[in-house]
Amino acid sequence: MRNVMIKTIFSLIAKSIYKDVYMLVWSILLPMGLFIGLSMYHESDSYRESLLVGCILVSLAMGAINTSGFWTMTQRRRGVFKLLKLSSLSISQFILCSILARLLIFAVISASLLLTGNLLFGLTFRATALLILYGLIVIGSICFTSIGYILAGRARDEGMMNMMSTLVAFPMIFISSAFYSLDQAPQWIQFVSKLNPFEHAARIGREAIAGAMDTQSAIVLTMLAFVSAIVAVKTFRYD
């Protein structure tokens, strides 16, 4: 009975998120355009592979932080969470359903990006690489969606949410080695990048292309995901 209830809520939240215009822009159009646009000007397969992984991570982070933040903010303002508070559904169950729904959508978007890479530029990945990439999408979804919830808990309105998500998401992407090396970056940037979940996701993704696992980054990202999820549940606001 409980499982049926969770399954129904999960599938309907996924349906609701799927129609979200923010998701279309941040998670599909932006990364797809970035990948196709840059790949047309770089003929190196290794660059295109790294770019593809970087674009999958941008899709994941921007979608999870911006989209889930805005979605949460809007639902709260409309009073949806007040209704949920009066229901039998707990906050952790609701957040779990939302994360799983987003995870499903990110998995489909990532598959579309991988397929685009294959059809347009002939990129292929080994089974081990795909397995690691999908593991990364699971942990990354939990981590970045939780960060979106935390920000939505602090924001008073959509304008503030926009500012906060931009101030968090863009530096996370720029202070990482997803699109360029940080070897020549100042010491403090290298230090900050060690605390940056996006940098650890980028490292895991880069190693995954070679069919290897960056265990250290995987442990750090899993810990950050766990902590973010707990903070998201603790700081969740109904109104």
Partner: protein
């Protein structure tokens, strides 16, 4: 008649302003109670207190059950739905959130009762104002609550939509045998629906009784005059 909710000497301040001031009120099983009063009188805050969404500074609130989650149906002033979902899916989602697995037939029956079957798959936010109010009531009813709370169910509706919602509430309360509490400014709505009236002003219940009792106490049959006299008395 069994008491479902008993509020005694309730006091609550929000932002330094006292919104509930030694308020006393009983909600009884099987009745339709109208909470009326001017804007800012404390009606919506009173509803939040009944629902457990706001805690009292002083006073007590006793409910028939320790855990009201899933046992009260509520429609807030602004209808609230999940975006991107139709009426049918919204009803299904909130039923599941209340721990109730409902069949397609059960959802369609609730939508039929709320006269929404034709709009079952229309996006909830694309429905008309009257349809949105009726959908909010369908969502509040689908898990078969013991108590239905409606915050200004006919506010901002045109006369024909208002009339539809009013007759729907009356027939639902009768058919489902549930207690209903609703807030309103509309005395004709109160006249049509309510068994009992609680007049709230300055954060307390200043008058309470049936419409006939209040009419006789104020010596008038004119509903608007009765409302004005109760406001003046405060």
């Amino acid at each position: 008649m069994k008491t479902l909710i008993q509020i005694k000497e309730a006091e609550l301040s929000l932002g330094g302003k006292k919104v509930l001031d030694r308020l006393n009120l009983d909600i009884r099983e099987g009745e339709i109670l109208a909470i009326i009063g001017p804007n800012g009188a404390g009606k919506s805050t009173l509803i939040d207190v009944m629902l457990g969404l706001k805690k009292l500074d002083r006073g007590t609130i006793l409910r028939w059950t320790d855990n009201v989650q899933g046992k009260i149906g509520v429609q807030f002033q602004t209808p609230t739905f999940f975006p991107g979902l139709g009426a049918y899916d919204n009803v299904k989602l909130f039923a599941a959130a209340n721990g109730k697995s409902v069949s397609k037939g059960e959802i369609e029956e609730v939508l039929r009762q709320c006269r929404l079957l034709d709009a079952a798959h229309t996006d909830a936010y694309r429905l008309s104002g009257g349809q949105q109010k009726r959908l909010a009531i369908a969502i509040a009813l689908v898990h078969q609550p013991k108590l239905l709370i409606l915050d200004e169910p006919t506010a901002a509706l045109d006369p024909s939509a208002r009339s539809e919602v009013k007759s729907m509430i009356a027939s639902l309360a009768e058919a489902r045998q549930i207690s209903v509490v609703f807030t309103s400014h509309d005395m004709s709505e109160v006249n049509k629906l309510a068994d009992r009236i609680a007049f709230v002003i300055n954060g307390r219940v200043s008058q309470e009784g049936t419409l006939d009792e209040l009419r006789s106490a104020y010596g008038t049959d004119d509903l608007d005059e009765l409302y004005t006299l109760m406001v003046k008395k405060g």
